[in-house]
Structure formats: structure tokens, C-alpha cells
């Protein structure tokens, strides 16, 4: 089974996130901080970022919906969002914050609303990308472990069969689906992503 190839594709996927500007060097800093004593550090911090951002985006929506907009308050929220996104390395989200703060200074509700729309889009994009990344990492860790000679469960054989079976997509897909759900209890979200990902990267497993 081509776990090595899958892993390389995963690394390439991550590299593309940096290349396309979704993530910057600060994200690498977070990765470097993860170790055996803090094994889930990146996921933890990014989850806090999601939680914080969603709260702030809601607050911003409400604040801009008022008849008399409190631009100081709006600016304060954007400042917070800029801080969090900067600290996790969510570059595109962070970059949206600067023009937003300018609009706050100009006290222009309409341009602020446009900025908010933009930032929401960027946030959802990076959230999707990061969630995919984490779940793929989990998948690889699980399947990658299957490559170890010490693991000889049926699951290993079944996954191998599935991935090979992807050469004939529909059959392989069904098999992968059932193994991932039943043997590993992967979520629907993850299974869909695995299938899409494998097809996307055009993995040839023959």
C-alpha cells in the first residue's frame, strides 16, 4: 500500500496552504511547539481560534446591525480578530483586518459591512482547510500505523484492499466508506474528505 505516497501528498497539500497564503510562518511556529508533552497543541490552539473568531464575527454582525453603529466597539472586535488570526498564522484573515480597521476609522457602515463579508469568507475558507488538514493527519496516523509490521489486524488488510480498489472508483469508494465508518468510526465529514482528497491528488494505486 502506498502510504508513503499518501503522506507525500499530504505534505504537498499542507505546502499549498502556505503557498496560497492561507497560512504563514506563525503556523509553522505552532507546529514546532507541538511535542510529546503537548501532542495536541496545534489542534487545541486552532480550535480556540475557531471558537474566538466565530464569537467575534457574530459580535461584529450585531454591532454593524445597530441603527447607531458604535465604531469603537467594532474596531475593538476587529483588533481582537487580528490578534488571534496573527497568532495562529491565519494570514488571509489577518490581512482582511487592516482595511476593516480603516473603514472603522472612517465610520463608514457600508464599507465595514463589505469588509465583514470578506473576512467571513476568508475565515470559512481557512477553517475548512485546517479541518481537512487535521482530519487527514488523523487518517494518515491511523492508516500509516497500519503500515507497521506490528499491526496485523483485519483493518489493515481491508484498508489496503480499499485503497487499491479506488482504481475502480465506485467499488473502491463503497469499500472505503464501510471500512472507515465501521472499522475506524471515522465521521462522515472525514470519510468524504478522504475520498475527495485521494481523488483530487490523483493517486494511482495500481
Amino acid at each position: 500500500m502506498e502510504v508513503g505516497q499518501l503522506q507525500r501528498s499530504f505534505v504537498e497539500y499542507m505546502a499549498s496552504l502556505f503557498r496560497e497564503g492561507f497560512l504563514d510562518a506563525q503556523f509553522s511556529q505552532l507546529q514546532q511547539l507541538q511535542d510529546d508533552s503537548n501532542p495536541d497543541f496545534v489542534v487545541e490552539v486552532v480550535s480556540l481560534f475557531f471558537e474566538d473568531s466565530e464569537r467575534l464575527l457574530n459580535d461584529l454582525t450585531m454591532a454593524l446591525d445597530q441603527p447607531n453603529v458604535d465604531f469603537k466597539q467594532v474596531d475593538a472586535h476587529v483588533h481582537q480578530l487580528k490578534g488571534s488570526s496573527s497568532s495562529v498564522g491565519a494570514q488571509r484573515v489577518k490581512n482582511c483586518c487592516v482595511p476593516f480597521r480603516n473603514c472603522c476609522e472612517e465610520q463608514n457602515t457600508e464599507t465595514c459591512l463589505r469588509c465583514l463579508q470578506q473576512i467571513k469568507q476568508e475565515y470559512l475558507l481557512v477553517k475548512n482547510k485546517l479541518q481537512t488538514l487535521f482530519e487527514l493527519a488523523f487518517f494518515l496516523a491511523t492508516v500509516g500505523a497500519a503500515d507497521c509490521s506490528c499491526w496485523r489486524s483485519n483493518s489493515h488488510g481491508a484498508i489496503t484492499q480499499c485503497l487499491t480498489g479506488l482504481a475502480s472508483p465506485s467499488e473502491g469508494k463503497c469499500l472505503l466508506n464501510s471500512v472507515c465508518r465501521e472499522e475506524f468510526s471515522f465521521s462522515d465529514f472525514l470519510v468524504d474528505h478522504i475520498i475527495n482528497f485521494i481523488h483530487q491528488i490523483g493517486l494511482c494505486l495500481l
Binding site: 511547539l33 490578534g83 497568532s87
Partner: protein, 156 residues
């Protein structure tokens, strides 16, 4: 990343017995993500960490809040360094710095100010008030490593 260090040497001179070799740092930041980040960075540099989400809670922890008297707690005497964000609602990091420097018990404890904005007047203001270092966010591991050396020197 720039760091601005106060050139005067600071000695802690409190003479209390420290239970372990790990410096105890109080980290103050109203941002959830940044609080987590600074906590991990400090722990990685072998520091014991207490976090506070604003200036008032930080003062309460240290026993310096207006409604407290000196016999409330002795947390302050255990803290080897305070690191605080500048922009916080209610009490800014600068105001917190001033309160700490006004306290006879805590005035010799090094205070580090963090900010995401590089504003020279802000930096000067903090340094003049006695901040040990002014650091730009986002923090990196190397920043905190350097900090730790500073603390260890201070305790010497």
C-alpha cells in the same frame, strides 16, 4: 521581531524560599488564543504559569487590588515575572505596569509588555515606567527563551 530591553539591572531581592527552580510567571492577556499561546511558550521554557484575562484579575491574584489588604494572599511574593498585553479593555497593560511599580512588594518584579503594534511612543512610555522588555506579537519560541534567560539573571 524587535525587543527593547531596559538597561538598568533589576534584582528581585525578596529573599523568599522558592519551592522549585522553575520561575513562576503571571501572564495577562484578554485574547483567548494569545493566552493559550503564551502559556505554552512559557511552559516550554520550563516556567510555572498562571494566566489572567485582564488587569484587575491580575492585581487580585497578586493581592494588589484596591479592595485587598496586604494580608489577603502572598501570591505576589511567589511570582518571578509578569508578562502582559498592552491593549486590554478596562485596564491597559501600561496601567497594570504602573500599579505594579507603585507597590512596595512587587515593584522589583520584572514586567514584560507585549503588543501587536509597533508604536515608538507606546514603547517609550512603558520603558520609562520601568518595563523590563517590550515585545512584539505574535510571540515565538525564541522570544520566550530569551525572556527566560532574563528572569534567571534577575533571580541570580
Amino acid at each position: 521581531m524587535e525587543m527593547f530591553a531596559n538597561s538598568s539591572s533589576i534584582s528581585k531581592g525578596m529573599g523568599e524560599v522558592v519551592a522549585s527552580d522553575e520561575p513562576h510567571v503571571l501572564a495577562v492577556d484578554d485574547n483567548l488564543v494569545d493566552r493559550k499561546l503564551v502559556e505554552i511558550l512559557l511552559k516550554k521554557s520550563s516556567c510555572k504559569v498562571t494566566t489572567a484575562e485582564d488587569g484587575l484579575r491580575a492585581l487580585e491574584y497578586l493581592g494588589l487590588a484596591a479592595h485587598q489588604d496586604s494580608s489577603t494572599n502572598n501570591n505576589g511574593s511567589k511570582v518571578n515575572m509578569i508578562i502582559t498585553d498592552y491593549c486590554m479593555p478596562g485596564m491597559t497593560g501600561y496601567e497594570l505596569l504602573k500599579k505594579i511599580k507603585e507597590s512596595s512588594m512587587m515593584k522589583d518584579v520584572p514586567v514584560v509588555i507585549m503588543s501587536s503594534e509597533n508604536i515608538p511612543t507606546r514603547i517609550n512610555q512603558c520603558m520609562e515606567e520601568g518595563a523590563q522588555i517590550f515585545m512584539l506579537k505574535p510571540l515565538k519560541h525564541s522570544d520566550v527563551e530569551r525572556l527566560r534567560c532574563q528572569i534567571m539573571q534577575c533571580r541570580g
